[in-house]
């Protein structure tokens, strides 16, 4: 990695004020909000996430009675008030000291978005009128955190826990949209020049490869209306990644994961391309670096095979 120096992600961004509060949040733990896609379609992503949190000593509590978050690219578009009601109900169920952690950027955007909407007086009244029907109440106080944020805040601990550095992982980091935007609601990384996931990836011993259109959308939400547009949006990104020496993609959102993992074959068939990028969820990459085996993590459930890739780069024998 002779060029590692030149590609280092700048660490001096002012936007992230809370850095590396080691151990401070490990005692009381988080309520874990799974959401629909991870729980019911991609449970193997949940496996890796739970394993790394256990390894880091961060307690996760399961809460009974969560519903769909609901989807900020689906239900909200049908009925804003239904979205608000369901979101507030979910938030009202959390009692952990640190609030909710979610492994899904969409759930995080919805839950943070509901909290943001509740800053307006009339929304608080509206929401509690809805919740009153089912005997619940919400005051807008539950904190919501994306798992990527916790990993970044505990980066030093993550680094010291790494037992099998991701050598030869040349990663195209895909942030996706809802991990960052709208920044007024998400209040985390820079909306256009983010650094957090790159920093985690580099902390695992992998190399983050810059590429064109890094900040573009994966295209998943448009598939509900226009499948072709959705595929073209994915293709634009994959084409750009293909031009670099990246050999895998890391994502932090299950919608992006599905878009890239499930559609590469279809893209190859339609456009005669030869995309074959293994897609890793950030939690999977961290888990691999922590020494968990592909079998333990259920990596065999990926649509684009990852086992060959891990052998090729001599990560597994």
């Amino acid at each position: 990695m002779s060029n590692n120096e030149s590609l280092k992600v700048p660490q001096d961004k002012q936007i992230i004020k809370q850095s590396n509060k080691l151990g401070e949040q490990t005692r009381t733990g988080y309520d874990v909000f799974l959401g629909c896609v991870i729980a019911s379609r991609l449970p193997f992503l949940e496996t890796s996430a739970r394993k790394i949190f256990a390894k880091l000593g961060i307690e996760l509590h399961d809460v009974d009675g969560f519903s769909c978050c609901p989807d900020p690219t689906g239900i909200e578009l049908v009925s804003h008030s239904a979205w608000l009601a369901l979101g507030a109900r979910n938030l009202s169920l959390s009692s952990a000291g640190n609030g909710i952690v979610s492994f899904c950027s969409g759930c995080v955007e919805t839950l943070k978005g509901v909290n943001h909407a509740m800053k307006k007086d009339h929304a608080v009244k509206e929401v509690n009128k809805f919740l009153g029907n089912i005997g619940k109440h919400y005051d807008g106080e539950t904190k919501v955190t994306h798992f990527g944020q916790i990993l970044y805040e505990q980066l030093e601990k993550v680094k010291t826990t790494v037992s099998k550095p991701l050598k030869d992982f040349k990663v195209a980091v895909h942030y996706g949209c809802h991990y960052l935007r709208p920044s007024e609601i998400i209040q985390w990384d820079d909306p256009f020049e983010p650094i957090t996931v790159d920093a985690i990836v580099e902390g695992l011993g992998a190399e983050s490869i810059p590429y064109e259109f890094k900040m573009e959308c994966c295209g998943n939400p448009t598939s509900k209306m226009d499948k072709d547009l959705s595929l073209l949006m994915a293709k634009k990104k994959l084409d750009a990644i293909k031009k670099t020496k990246a050999n895998c993609i890391i994502v932090v959102c299950p919608a992006c994961y599905q878009q890239f993992d499930f559609n590469q074959k279809e893209l190859n068939k339609t456009f005669g391309t030869d995309f074959n990028f293994p897609i890793f969820y950030l939690s999977e990459a961290v888990a691999l670096a922590f020494g968990f085996t592909p079998d333990e993590l259920g990596l065999k459930f990926h649509a684009t095979r990852v086992t060959n890739f891990l052998k090729e780069i001599n990560f597994t024998s």
Binding site: C36, P43, E76, R89, T222, K224, M233
Partner: protein, 428 residues
């Protein structure tokens, strides 16, 4: 293999160096442009000092009076030059548009126009301390200043969203919209600035004739002509549609939506949207949203957020909701437009409201309708089926106790979303 690897590394480094160079050039260009803005009035002040047009008789006036007079004149110089520049910087000069964002240019225009106005006030009050001036000078100066002041107040209330969080402002804008005082009317009113510029120009000509300084007269005349030329050519370009007719940033716009309008502007509908999203009032169709939109670049503008915003401003509810023209559902909710909008307009929220209306009129995509039905029936968008539950236990994951469906249904019914009847119909 190793050689190939090295080659790739080199390429990447070259790319990075190239990118860095590009950034440096941009940075330098910005510095030069800002230096021009701030240094030119300094040079002219030096020129003025050197020319010393108002020669004081030391016996007639004290030295401190002269200092106050000269200082007041220098405030006047800054005020005049910046007045000209503040107009020029928003007349779509390519050199400025390519190097600064619309957001920055507008902020700069707003702030510096206010500063110039303040300098104008200082100029007037300081000079009035030092002597008596003829009526013509007073009238032209004060008239120009008052026009600028009223336009500034109007612009701060109606044209920028920077103070939109103030509740009274929201109400004021809504009532203004109701009496047809729309954004476009503000835009037209803002052109009265040129009347003020002319008044101030006459003011300076009279003053420097009295002081008999041909050099200063020439400089001021030059700046006036420059400003007039910039303004007229900007209006000509717009009138003759030599450039993209409406927008600064939208590379896709071929023409206005007006020709496709199928209903009279529905102001009541616009007001309903404005009520929820007050920032909407000040969309001036710059097209920054379309410039950054990933769906727009792939559909070559067939979908583009600026076009939707234009339809909203023109109150084209039927076009948007019933005909999906332009199709608001092609938005991928990536929120880039919201982040980049120089007026901080919450575009995605506006689109959400339109989509909500589409659902009510039955024009929302089938997969979306299925998703909400799924949530209504199961509490989850993707239900937990036995195979998935088996896989979860294989993976060592805990069992999920998701929400009670009855509770979710009564919550949704309370939130005006009752899908139970639809389902019974389907069963029958």
């Amino acid at each position: 293999m190793i050689a190939k690897e090295k080659q790739e590394v080199l390429d990447l480094k070259q790319v990075l160096v190239f990118k860095k160079n590009q950034e440096t050039t941009l940075f330098l260009k910005r510095i030069v442009l800002l230096a021009i803005y701030f240094l030119i009035p300094v040079f002219i002040s030096i020129l003025y000092w050197y020319e010393d047009p108002v020669a004081f008789d030391p016996e007639m006036a004290a030295l401190d009076i002269k200092i106050i007079h000269n200082l007041g004149s220098i405030f006047g110089i800054f005020s005049y030059i910046w007045m000209c520049f503040n107009i020029l910087i928003i007349t779509r000069i390519k050199l400025i548009e390519n190097n600064f964002s619309v957001d920055f240019t507008m902020l700069f225009h707003t702030v510096m126009a206010s500063v110039s106005l303040l300098f104008g006030l200082l100029h007037g009050s300081m000079l009035l301390l030092t002597g008596i001036f003829p009526d013509t000078i007073l009238i032209t100066g004060i008239l120009g200043w008052l026009i600028f002041l009223s336009l500034m107040v109007l612009a701060i209330i109606f044209m920028t969203n920077r103070l939109i969080k103030v509740k009274q402002l929201e109400k004021l804008r809504k009532s203004a919209y109701k009496i047809k005082f729309k954004y476009n009317l503000n835009k037209i009113l803002h052109n009265i600035t040129m009347l003020a510029v002319f008044s101030v120009f006459v003011h300076t000509m009279i003053a420097f004739t009295a002081a008999s300084s041909e050099l200063m007269r020439a400089v001021y005349f030059g700046f006036f002509i420059l400003t007039l030329f910039g303004w007229v050519s900007h209006k000509m370009v717009r009138a003759l549609q030599l450039d993209p007719p409406i927008s600064r940033r939208d590379p896709f716009t071929k023409g206005s939506l007006r020709s496709k309008m199928i209903q009279k502007p529905n102001d009541a509908w616009f007001l309903k949207l404005l009520d929820k999203i007050p920032s909407l009032y000040a969309c001036f169709q710059c097209g920054t949203c379309s410039e950054g939109c990933p769906a727009a670049s792939i559909t070559d503008g067939a979908y583009n957020p600026r076009l939707i915003m234009e339809a909203v401003i023109l109150g084209q509810q039927e076009l948007l909701v019933d005909h999906l023209e332009p199709n608001v559902w092609l938005c991928s909710t990536c929120q880039k437009c919201v982040e980049q909008c120089p007026q901080k307009i919450e575009l995605t929220e506006i689109f959400t409201m339109i989509k909500n209306e589409c659902y009510k009129s039955g024009t929302s995509p089938e997969s979306i309708n299925m998703q909400i039905q799924m949530v209504f029936d199961n509490g989850l968008a993707i239900p937990l089926t036995p195979p998935i539950e088996r896989r979860r236990s294989q993976l060592g994951l805990p069992e999920i106790k998701s929400a009670d469906v009855n509770e979710i249904q009564s919550l949704l019914k309370g939130a005006h979303l009752d899908l139970s009847t639809t389902k019974e119909e389907e069963n029958n």
